[in-house]
Symmetry: C2
Subunit: 206 residues, 2 copies
């Protein structure tokens, strides 16, 4: 399996399949089909089969996919059979919500450190965390070896904080700031901007 | 322009272009190129030109794109030159953050009504809003004519609330619940699940 050969658009669908498989499993089922999986996620059965076949032969003609096995395979491919420590920068409403978010457990992530630059927030408690000073980002993250960050600072500060995160060794940034970030090759950025999600849908509304 | 003919993957990139154009404009520039726009969003210049050409001739050979004109065109295509009222269901941390989120202004959206089913929250104030009772969703939304919802309820309640939203006339749902929703044809769902965003990146990490 050569990473260069698999388009990012396929990689982007694997977490969606994984979530849907867990949901089907939670309903007590042990096997599923590309039809069922596809209909859960709004993707054709043919595309589901094509996507999964990039990584191996996971299904059997006639019996379909063993859910538990396919979940394990996808977790391995996405490297979330381990737990990644994550930092959250910016303890506004969104950062607050993420620091206390219950949806990371068993999905491969754990918030480990939270930062803010507001003296009123530094040292205070958010969820299980004591808020650290943003100015210490580089030394603190380097010491921890953490590679993944969630960025919830205001747009005006986002690029500057991003530069610090990269200097600190962060390789993957989930960006909640409503701004496009400039990053060097090799650094991954995903955007979770609610306006973008909404604008993708209004195109189709009357 | 026939909506059936333009792939959703292209539609999904238009909000990203729009955000980047606003960012470039905020730096004081009046024109841009497919190279500059592409490099801001991590998409090739050729793809940018191909995507935009689906909707008309927006650029000029040699001078590139007039930013203000292209922003207006994209806002028109995405139908965000108007303001869409949006409901938020679920006043946990995430719903709270969305009700108070400052990033919707001038992006085409305005939170109009917020709901929760917790008696301790119903009637209380969140941001500018008085929290309404989730059991009144259908009548309240129908009366308002609102078509867009953000769903921030726990996973266990998400499908049931989705069914109510659809009965109420909602056509587009931004889903923050960590679960795949089943919806009829014609209803749009976008997922903003931080674990999904993170899992898309860990594939590439060592």
């Amino acid at each position: 399996m050569n990473k260069q050969e698999i388009p990012d658009i396929i990689i982007s669908r694997l977490p969606i399949y994984l979530r849907a498989l867990r949901h089907i499993e939670s309903e007590g089922k042990q096997t599923t089909s590309s039809q069922e999986l596809g209909s859960r996620v709004g993707i054709s059965a043919a595309q589901v089969r094509k996507d999964l076949s990039q990584f191996g032969e996971f299904g059997k003609q006639g019996t379909g996919y063993d859910i538990s096995f396919l979940i394990d395979q996808l977790r391995g491919i996405l490297k979330v059979e381990r737990v990644w420590d994550v930092v959250v920068v910016g303890m506004g409403d969104m950062g607050h919500a993420l620091a206390r978010y219950q949806g990371f457990s068993d999905r491969g992530f754990r918030v480990a450190i939270v930062f803010d630059n507001d003296p009123a927030k530094i040292g205070s408690q958010v969820g299980h965390f004591i808020v650290r000073d943003t100015k210490d980002i580089v030394t603190t993250i380097r010491k921890s070896g953490i590679k993944v960050a969630m960025l919830c600072v205001p747009a005006a500060a986002a690029q500057k904080v991003t530069n610090m995160l990269i200097e600190a060794g962060i390789k993957a940034i989930l960006n909640y700031a409503p701004i496009s970030l400039s990053v060097p090759t090799g650094i991954r950025v995903q955007y979770l901007d609610p306006s973008i999600g909404l604008q993708r849908m209004t195109y189709y509304l009357d």
